[in-house]
């Protein structure tokens, strides 16, 4: 294998791995900056991927394969699905002031069981075949004209998935929303001291529910992007820990968007680099697996050094209770 191919593949694969992580982590940032623990990213992304894939499968007979509309239908379906499923978290955490860790775990477990079951049922109804996966194919890749010729960094702009640009746009808009707008100011106040917002005439419950819904929509988008690119189908294998890695990226990124972006890129690039090096050296799969562990080990070590300076939102995980002294 040529060294140039490897150098090309590392950034492209790294980006396609990092970007879905980033959008899920941004969803988590919305939610946790608002003071609600978000451990349900795994379940939300899976459910979003399911509804997205389901929309594609249902529309396929009408539009025909290869229709450019399918991508948008998948995205819309995933956002609506993730958002609706996140309402369960909102109901439990905001309305009933439940323990937020439990609520997150319930959503993860429920999403996995529910989507697997529903996929089989739908497949049986549509094709009379028992299968737990929706085949949706992978979206087209493209190469950005000028940027891709930059030495070294050009690799990032070759063989891109369209969704990667969508996610970068979401990241920019989210930064503006969180730090510059009225909603962002109120949202972060909910996470730091909800009593301040309440006394200033804001509505803590409503702000938090909106944050949870944004989180659900973004996590759903993340899920469908994974399904639409790397795996090219929806199946229970979508639950392979992306949501948890996104949580790690968010915490490591100190609940801020730019550091979280850097962490996601680090995860993505180390993963693709490890994989490519294994391929290049022609190692057996045992060693490949070992090498792929490296990014997580590095993360653990770095966390030891950085976590002291980390500052989670002060009111994170506390249900808002007006009367509490």
């Amino acid at each position: 294998m040529d060294v140039m191919d490897v150098m090309d593949a590392i950034p492209a694969d790294g980006l396609s791995f990092a970007m879905p992580l980033l959008i899920m982590a941004i969803g988590g940032i919305y939610c946790e900056r608002g003071g609600v623990l978000m451990l349900a990213l795994e379940g939300l992304q899976g459910f979003g991927a399911f509804t997205g894939a389901l929309s594609v499968v249902l529309c396929l007979p009408l539009l025909g394969a290869g229709s450019p509309c399918l991508v948008y239908i998948a995205m819309a379906g995933a956002m609506i699905g993730g958002m609706s499923f996140s309402l369960l978290h909102a109901l439990l955490c905001v309305r009933f002031k439940a323990q937020q860790v439990i609520s997150g775990m319930v959503i993860n477990t429920l999403a996995m069981a529910l989507t697997t079951f529903l996929t089989s049922v739908v497949n049986e109804a549509l094709t009379s075949q028992v299968s737990n996966r929706f085949q949706i194919g992978a979206s087209e890749r493209f190469t950005l004209p000028i940027l891709s010729r930059i030495p070294i960094f050009g690799g990032f702009f070759r063989n891109m998935y369209p969704f990667e640009l969508v996610i970068l746009a979401v990241a920019f808009v989210s930064w503006h929303v969180l730090y510059k707008t009225r909603f962002g100011l109120r949202l972060r106040a909910c996470g730091e001291n909800p009593h301040s917002l309440d006394a200033a005439g804001g509505n803590v419950g409503r702000t938090r529910v909106i944050a949870i819904m944004i989180c659900g929509a973004l996590a759903g988008l993340g899920g469908i992007f994974v399904a639409y690119s790397v795996s090219a189908n929806f199946s229970p294998s979508i639950y392979m820990g992306y949501g948890y890695m996104a949580i790690a990226a968010m915490i490591f990124g100190n609940w801020k968007i730019s550091p979280t972006f850097a962490v996601c890129m680090f995860f993505g690039l180390t993963k693709s680099a490890g994989y490519q090096i294994c391929l290049w050296l022609g190692m057996t799969s045992n060693y490949t697996d070992l090498l792929l562990v490296i990014p997580y080990v590095v993360t653990l070590v770095l966390l030891v050094f950085f976590s002291k300076r980390n500052q989670p939102p002060r009111a994170l995980g506390d249900p808002f209770d007006k009367g509490k002294r």
Partner: protein, 512 residues
């Protein structure tokens, strides 16, 4: 309605919480442009009444009239729209936000960048905040973050928050409880300025001298009921008696016995303690306390008092010097061993260090002796022993808890929380008791109760170390007064051979 004489009027307002009637049929009229004080013990219903005016609770019965019109105050934003603002006792600020962001929160001026992206216009807000701070003498830098500024500046931010919203009726909930004497004077000036600008101020307090110095009228609440409305020119004694519901003594020095000193209990030699900032907060302090003696440390806040008390209690290790208890060197002992050696500690922050707020009264009372029989046996707690003991202590120390021994500490008033701590600390048979700001934030009735207890324990022969910022308290209780200034013990006086003026001068460091 011909009641427009009043800008705010409560008519027959009642508010019930589970198990308690916080406000019972209260009718009060507040005139435009006056400073109206609400006086009452902790738990008398002052804050509840004002929370209803600020829309945080709705009354169960009765009506509230603003400017002569009956209003439904369903939320703080409804109250804000009617020109009502409130400075809460515990500030409602976001520590990581700038002062400007905290002030605009909930009323953000929004602009659009490129006609598309809305954003909060902090620049315009900061300009308005600067103008307001100039007008009312409330100096702040809008760009600083709340966590970078002190408590008195945070309070200014809360006041500016109300002014930014053009509030005309300003509610202050115990605004001086967190301030030093000088800051209190400053606040009083600000409040006078606000009254001059035509605003109406409601001041919730339990300090009589504040009412005497700035209020125009005062309403006294007692156990949820309106006891009386008086002009502020009424005597302090009358106000105090109405607050408590029986004649109280306002000056603490009413011990029947003269102090009879016994052997030295605590001896502190050349003690130095490092503060949180890494500098020496206590520098080479030496003194001793005898049994039957109240030794009071006077001083302005932040001169090393807390560090000194913590070091003697064993919470922080000293960086030099020795502490002898009944002749035994305890300098290197931890809190547990000092407790056994006979040290009781009533800390300043009673909610953080004195109690486990979510435990019951019985559990809090047993927290220093649960390891011994009969409270536990072979590692198994004996709950009924907790309860029996707690019920006896509740009766003996007059702790008022709605659910008896099973009441969660968080739901008790500050005075009763303090009584619980004092009951626990007195019930151990210790020879030295350390009281840090024991009456801070308490009402006259509770203060009197605690002062009486301290004098009683002194007369039983215990040594008492009192750290207090209230000079009146120091002068009234102490047998010996030490003045701490800049971490040094400037002077030790026998209390009967000094005056308030002299102690005050040493407190300012002038006499050095």
């Amino acid at each position: 309605m011909a009641s427009s004489e009043y800008i705010v009027e409560f008519r027959g307002v009642t508010k019930k919480f589970p198990g308690i009637t916080a406000n019972d049929d209260i009718s009060i009229g507040i005139r435009r442009g006056e400073i109206f004080a609400l006086l009452g013990e902790n738990g008398a219903g002052k804050s509840t009444l004002m929370s209803m005016l600020y829309g945080m609770y709705e009354p169960d019965a009765g009506d509230i009239f603003i400017r002569g019109e009956r209003v439904a105050l369903s939320s703080p934003s409804a109250a804000t729209a009617l020109g009502i603002g409130m400075v809460h006792q515990h500030f409602r600020l976001v520590p990581s936000y700038t002062i400007a962001e905290n002030i605009v929160l909930g009323m953000e001026p929004v602009k659009k960048a490129a006609e598309l992206f809305p954003y909060v216009d902090i620049g315009a807000a900061s300009k308005r905040i600067r103008d307001l701070s100039k007008t009312y003498g409330l100096e702040v830098d809008p760009a600083l973050r709340i966590e970078q500024v002190g408590v008195s500046t945070q309070q200014r931010v809360e006041i500016l928050k109300m002014l930014y919203r053009d509030a005309e009726i300003l509610i202050f909930d115990e605004p001086t409880s967190v301030l030093t004497p000088r800051e209190i004077e400053f606040l009083m000036d600000v409040m006078r300025g606000l009254r001059e600008s035509g605003r109406t101020i409601v001041l919730i307090t339990h300090k009589l001298e504040e009412i005497k110095s700035i209020a125009d009228r005062v309403a006294v609440l007692r156990r949820g009921k309106l006891a009386a409305i008086l002009p502020a020119s009424a005597s302090a004694q009358e106000m105090a008696d109405l607050t408590v519901g029986r004649p109280v003594s306002l000056s603490p020095s009413s011990s029947s016995l003269r102090a009879r000193f016994r052997d030295v209990v605590l001896q502190v030699e050349n003690l130095s303690v490092r503060g949180e900032n890494g500098l020496d907060a206590v520098k080479g302090v030496s003194f001793s306390i005898r049994g039957g003696e109240i030794f009071a440390i006077a001083g302005v806040s932040g001169n090393g008092q807390i560090e000194l008390a913590d070091a003697i209690a064993g919470l922080v290790p000293p960086c030099g010097g020795r502490i002898l208890l009944n002749g035994r060197n305890v300098t290197s002992d931890g809190v547990g061993r000092r407790t056994e050696a006979g040290v009781s500690y009533i800390p300043e922050d009673r909610q953080r260090y004195g109690l486990v707020l979510d435990f019951t009264v019985a559990e809090n009372l047993a927290i220093k002796k649960y390891r011994r029989a009969p409270y536990s046996k072979s590692g198994i707690l004996n709950r009924s022993a907790f309860r029996t003991e707690a019920e006896a202590m509740i009766a003996r120390y007059d702790i008022r808890a709605s659910g008896g021994a099973g009441t969660i500490a968080r739901f008790m008033s500050g005075g009763n929380q303090q009584k619980t701590i004092i009951a626990r600390e007195l019930s151990t048979d210790s020879s030295l008791m350390i009281f840090v700001q024991p009456t801070r934030g308490l009402d006259v009735g509770a203060i009197e109760n605690i002062h009486r207890r301290m004098l009683g324990e002194r007369d039983k022969g215990r040594a008492i170390l009192l750290v207090s910022l209230e000079l009146d308290e120091v002068m009234g209780l102490a047998d010996t007064i030490g003045v701490l200034y800049g971490g040094r013990l400037l002077k030790i006086f026998p209390a009967d051979r000094t005056t308030v003026g002299e102690v005050g001068e040493y407190m300012m460091g002038a006499a050095s």
